[in-house]
Amino acid sequence: MNRSTLLALQILVAVIGLALWHVLTTYPIFGRLLLPPFFFSNPVEVAQQVVKWFSTGVIWKHLWVTLVESVLAFVIGSIGGVFVGFWFARQPRTAAVFDPYVKMINALPRVVLAPIFTLWLGLGIWSKVALGVTLVFFIVFFNVYQGIKEVSPTVLANARMLGMNERQLMRHVYWPSALSWMFSSLHTSVGFAVVGAVVGEYLGAPAGLGYLIQQAEGVFDVAGVFAGMFVLAAFVIVIDTLVTVVERRLLIWRPLASESRP
């Protein structure tokens, strides 16, 4: 499938989705609206809202705030997850001791922790970043941890026999071998970084897409809520594309599925 067919199909899906949405929010089926516009708005209004935000320019400030928060959450969370993942994988004793605590912390509802983040980090972007980090960190951590444990024993033995010390093993063996695990988790966590930032804003903030969404929700402006979510989603696609580009670059050594020789 070449690029333009793919794009055409993707657009087709979007068009069908939007059409369905429009129909279901506008025309009653079996006597009732399947998607009451009070809760689902409709594509036209949402589009108008988006256009308005961009044409008046109000959106930029909010988008920028959310962008900064998400990127920071993503970067800090991933780096943290990678480091701790590596550390745990290489220190099985430490890992065994702390394992239950890591899992406990992963289970804490972040929403409840929001006031504590505000206490420590103030009302600026950092408390939102912290919320995002607590989501991203665990996703990356668990994958990196597992990824390192999956290193081929033969390759590892070879590396050790070649005289690599722990640091060199990290760099030349564990890291490249865990990369595909890491990238898999990064695709998940791009989304979660944004969710963290937006939820943080939603819980209390002076600006950002989450703030916009909350305002809209407060006045029952569903179109605004959906518009906010769309902008958000579009924006995640952009970040994710960047991740994919880096991934392609770093994983160039793998056989492509199509040419994989037995």
Binding site: Y202, L203, G204
Partner: protein, 317 residues
Amino acid sequence: QTKITLAVGGGACLCYLPTMLAKQLGEYEKAGLNVEVVDFKGGSDALKAVMGGSADVVSGYFDHCVNLAAKGQALQSFVVYDRYPGFALVVSPKQTGAIKTIKDLKDKKVGVSAPGSSTDFFLKYMLSKAGVDPNSVGVVGVGLGATAVAAMEQGSVDAAIMLDPAVTQLQGRNKDLRILSDTRTQKDTMSVFGGEYPGGALYTRADWIASHEKEVQAMTNAIVNTLKWIHAHTPEEIAAKMPDEYVGKDRALYVQALKNTLPMYSETGRMDPKGAQAVLDVFSQSSPEIKNAKIDLSKTYTNKYVDQVNKRADLKQ
């Protein structure tokens, strides 16, 4: 200009309108303040931001001051902009026929904004006043916004305590909506509490007030002026002043809600001591902790700054 961070617990609620309006009218600036309004999901989150020092002043319900006094935290309100609480006890459109009085709520599910919130206490107070055992009623947290509307229309709850603009929103969608008690009005407030009942107020830590007299006075001035402005203008004029994100798409609805809510805004900003007592009564009703705490109500509010404004106004005249 001094920078003040003002934490609001859900700025979209009309009960907090004076705080935003003051900003729109430029009252804070006139008083020499640079106020940043930070919007929180709920009143208790806003309060925590102030307790933790990341915000300076809360714009929220006065009852938190009483609540925290029981925990030994000294919070003090210095200007009260809502004289009625603005809660409405609304019956789900699916139950309009079945539930006619508060008594009918026995063994039913009733929504509040969140368990443990002011709306929860208010509900319990109303129930016991009407002779219904509060424990016989299932309390469900439904939030204040669209979730609450969805729950009501779905019939997931049989009734709920709601605030504006949700009440008006629901009224708009269900013409014969039954409201069992509407404390947006003087009549119902009087009949429930026997006097005014302070809702939204500006409050903060007592020590902050003591060390920032100038700022507190300035904020008080701003709010009192705003209250005066409100009562001198029509809902349409007020709505015109509010930024789009607070008004939303449906301006007519907003104006309608504002019309319903207007009487609720205080004219003077003063705390009625009887109102403070009413708050304590409401909470003592279902919280043994508050009931048993020796709370000195007079420490939870001050009219000093409001009186100062009015005095100056008198002088001018």
